[in-house]
């Protein structure tokens, strides 16, 4: 099962990004293999609809769970449709590796 964690950087010690659509990077964590992969959020600077495009990107990456600080209403609607679990974490200042430790 794959999990996406929104991240500010592309290393496991980078900080968790509380924004969803405008997160810098998406950390793709595979629970079965324990591997992490970082995918750039291409639409982080778009003027409009960053959340929906990010949600589309997550659907394409075939993740089943997304961990972020907040989800916009449209992104939420889209993720709901694809049965992707959303987790809202008040984890400002946490690093990606800390969050991975939590879900392990």
């Amino acid at each position: 099962m794959k999990t996406i964690i929104t991240s500010q950087g592309k290393e496991t010690h980078s900080l968790f990004d509380t924004r969803f659509g405008r997160a810098e990077w998406f950390c793709l964590y595979d629970e079965n293999t324990g591997e992490t992969r970082f995918v750039e959020n291409k639409n982080r600077d778009s003027n409009h609809g960053a959340g929906t495009r990010a949600a589309e990107q997550i659907v394409e990456l075939k993740a089943e769970k997304v961990i972020s600080g907040d989800f916009g209403p449209r992104a939420k609607e889209l993720l709901d449709q694809f049965n992707i679990q959303m987790v809202i974490l008040q984890g400002e200042g946490k690093s990606i590796s800390e969050i991975i430790q939590m879900i392990k």
Binding site: D80, I84, Q85
Partner: protein, 174 residues
């Protein structure tokens, strides 16, 4: 002579029937208005994404004694969030909340008035559930305080972060 007479009768009959008709119509109208006055229009429930993360706000450092509070409804909080925090226009926001644009504008206006009143009159703001419903159920983990959704494809009901089974729906926690 008989022709004139029959025309008179005809006119007479027609006149009476028109008065009768007017009378009937007036009565129906009065009954209709009365029903409207007894039964207000049904309020469509307003869709919200998530309830506010607070139970209230209290002013501090003011000199007056305890003042009455202002009740900010969930849908009013949502209107402020969509319009002023997420920067949506009223058309988009109203579509999200499942109400018409004028209704959204009314909710938004009411929210702003309440907040302004609370600030100026140093009143406490309390959040109240109002007439809102959540578009999908959010759960709260009692152990790690994260919030999450439960897609119908998931069978096990536990917290996706800390695997705790001590979870509850947000709808009842507020």
């Amino acid at each position: 002579m008989s022709h004139q007479h029959s025309a008179d009768i005809c006119k007479h009959v027609l006149n009476i029937s028109r008065i009768d008709f007017d009378f009937c119509f007036e009565n129906i109208l009065i009954i209709f208005v009365q029903v409207l006055q007894i039964m207000p229009r049904r309020k469509r429930r307003r869709r919200i994404v998530a309830p506010p993360g607070f139970k209230g706000y209290r002013p501090y450092g003011h000199m007056q004694g305890r003042m009455d509070h202002v009740e900010l409804l969930f849908e009013e909080y949502e209107a402020i969030k969509l319009a002023d925090y997420d920067g949506m226009n009223h058309q988009e926001a109203s579509a999200l909340m499942g109400v018409s644009r004028p209704t959204f504008a009314r909710i938004y206006e009411s929210a702003r008035r309440k907040i302004a009143r609370a600030l100026v009159e140093t009143r406490e703001i309390r959040s109240a559930s109002g007439n809102a419903w959540m578009d999908s159920s959010w759960f709260l983990c009692q152990d790690c305080h994260s919030r999450f959704t439960m897609p119908s494809t998931l069978l096990d009901k536990y917290c996706p972060l800390c695997k705790s089974e001590n979870i509850q729906t947000i709808n009842t926690s507020l």
